[in-house]
């Protein structure tokens, strides 16, 4: 079943068009990779899908509902969650609190109960604290449970974002270059991690330049170039597409 449909999507900044008439769809439960040269519009596409940028025109449908132009927090409530290429960590908080923020929607915090510290609030907070710790363990951050986010190394922050995004309990998870800053060993772990998340039924949309990861996990690949669809298909199909090789993979990328 298709989960996300992008229809005739167009996005420009001033006179500068970044996405041109883009149409594609993503199947529920799949791992759908989006690749393409730097500046092709991948992150912009994510920004539009997650409600951070309104599209110039075109539509985005999620589970059949038109979500175009809805605010980001509303989309999160529908089950769309993401990580960022330029880390967006709450640096003023601890690592654990970063993840706990991810549970915001599940907590449904209300002002009065919070002000008066109703027992239910305390109880639930305790519960989410444990879940957050489990989640940190799941992404391999057990060592950082007590750490301040501002004191963590880059690679750990990437996983912290992933944990936070998972805490939102998404139906669809958009990952923007999760492997950047990880070494091959760590990327290998990430590979497993992504598969495990997908196994839980979460649709994954992956933007990544690390081809080893892309080839390893993707069910389907969309190639963007200058805001247009350049190619689409399985890994094998895309990999040997001469346009893709010329625009993006180069000789090195093809073989990795």
């Amino acid at each position: 079943m298709t989960q996300l449909v992008v229809e005739g999507l167009h996005k420009s900044f001033g006179a500068f068009a970044v996405l041109h008439d883009l149409t594609f769809s993503i199947r529920e439960g799949s791992i759908h990779s989006i690749i393409g040269p730097n500046g092709a519009g991948k992150t912009t596409l994510f920004n539009v899908i997650t409600g951070l940028y309104p599209p110039t025109h075109g539509r985005v449908l999620f589970n059949g509902a038109d979500i175009t132009g809805r605010p980001a927090h509303a989309l999160a409530a529908l089950g769309i969650s993401r990580t960022f290429q330029n880390l967006q960590i709450f640096l003023n908080m601890s690592a654990l609190d970063n993840v706990l923020v991810g549970y915001h929607l599940s907590c449904r915090p209300r002002l009065l109960p919070s002000l008066f510290r109703w027992p239910a609030v305390v109880r639930r907070d305790h519960e989410y604290r444990q879940r957050a710790e489990q989640l940190m363990a799941f992404v391999g951050l057990s060592a950082f449970v007590g750490a301040e986010a501002s004191a963590m190394p880059y690679g750990a922050l990437k996983r912290l974002e992933l944990a936070r995004a998972l805490a939102v309990q998404p139906k669809m998870l958009l990952l923007d270059e999760p492997a950047a800053g990880l070494n091959p060993k760590e990327t290998g772990d990430l590979d497993t991690l992504i598969q495990r998340i997908a196994e839980r039924g979460v649709t994954i949309v992956l933007v990544e330049h690390d081809m080893r990861l892309v080839w390893a996990v993707s069910n389907h690949i969309l190639v963007l170039d200058e805001g247009r669809k350049l190619a689409e298909g399985t890994g094998a199909e895309v990999r040997h597409n001469p346009d893709v090789v010329a625009a993006y993979l180069g000789e090195g990328g093809r073989h990795r």
Binding site: T43, Y154, N183, K185, T187, H209, L249
Partner: protein, 249 residues
């Protein structure tokens, strides 16, 4: 690109260009580096391999002077620079391409590049700019645009180009290939090799340890803030520990 004056060259014979001895450093009371010793000869390409949180970035920041050394010495071209302010180190030719790009977001691409050459005679800037634009076509196309609006990879190109604009004597690269498309990764590695060929000394931190080691002369392995291994790149590549932990083999 750059050839040192003879006196400096003589000094360099006695001592490596960059000589880091027993260096410790960290963040306030938290120590992140312990007795790190690194020697980089003039014209060498040395790579630093290490896992997430090993302290690679911390080492580079300490070398550049953004973090104070709590113990040990840093000598550069025969001079003790352990206490030298960061901007003077940059003017001596120690140039860093920082992790996470760190472009000057509200300024234009071209302003970013020109500032890269801040410490250089202004007459040379024009030619250097042209060189960078030839290397990174995207930057040429976007040169009047605001750097902060570029895509992640474009910003990474800008960070590298900005570093090169300074015509470094030793270039500290902190994960330069991060976020670049495969084609551009090839391009960046090719550039690094070219720079080395033209005499620039390079200290490369790179997650893609395999490729880094394949072009490097020598390498160091950093774990938990300590150097645990060092040697010729070729020998590190076949080291079991390196293979398992960093090459993902």
């Amino acid at each position: 690109m750059w050839s040192p004056p003879t006196s400096a060259r003589e000094a360099a014979i006695a001592e490596p260009l960059l000589n880091v001895a027993e260096l410790s450093s960290g963040y306030g009371p938290v120590r992140a580096l312990w007795d790190v010793s690194v020697r980089i000869e003039e014209g060498e390409l040395v790579t630093l391999v290490g896992g997430n949180g090993a302290g690679k970035t911390t080492l580079l920041r300490t070398l550049s002077g953004l973090l104070p050394a709590s113990a040990g010495t840093i000598r550069f071209a025969g001079e003790d620079i352990t206490r030298l302010p960061a901007h003077l180190r940059a003017r001596r030719g120690i140039v860093q391409v920082p992790e996470g790009r760190q472009v000057l977001a509200p300024m234009t691409v071209e302003d970013n590049l020109r500032l890269g050459g801040y410490a250089r005679p202004q007459g040379e800037i024009g030619a250097a700019l042209a060189e960078m634009y030839a290397l990174f076509n995207d930057l040429r196309l976007r040169r009047r645009d605001i750097a902060g609006h570029l895509s992640g990879g474009q910003q990474q190109m800008l960070a590298i180009a900005r570093g090169l604009m300074a015509r470094p004597r030793v270039l500290l690269l902190d994960e330069p290939s991060m976020g670049l498309s495969p084609i551009l990764v090839d391009e960046v590695f090719a550039t690094v090799e070219r720079l080395r060929a033209s005499g620039t000394t390079i200290f490369l931190v790179e997650q893609n340890a395999y490729r880094a080691l394949s072009i490097a002369d020598r390498g160091y392995v950093l774990e938990a803030g300590r150097i645990i291994l060092e040697g010729p790149a070729a020998s590190l590549m076949v080291n079991d520990r390196v293979k398992e932990a960093y090459l993902g083999l």
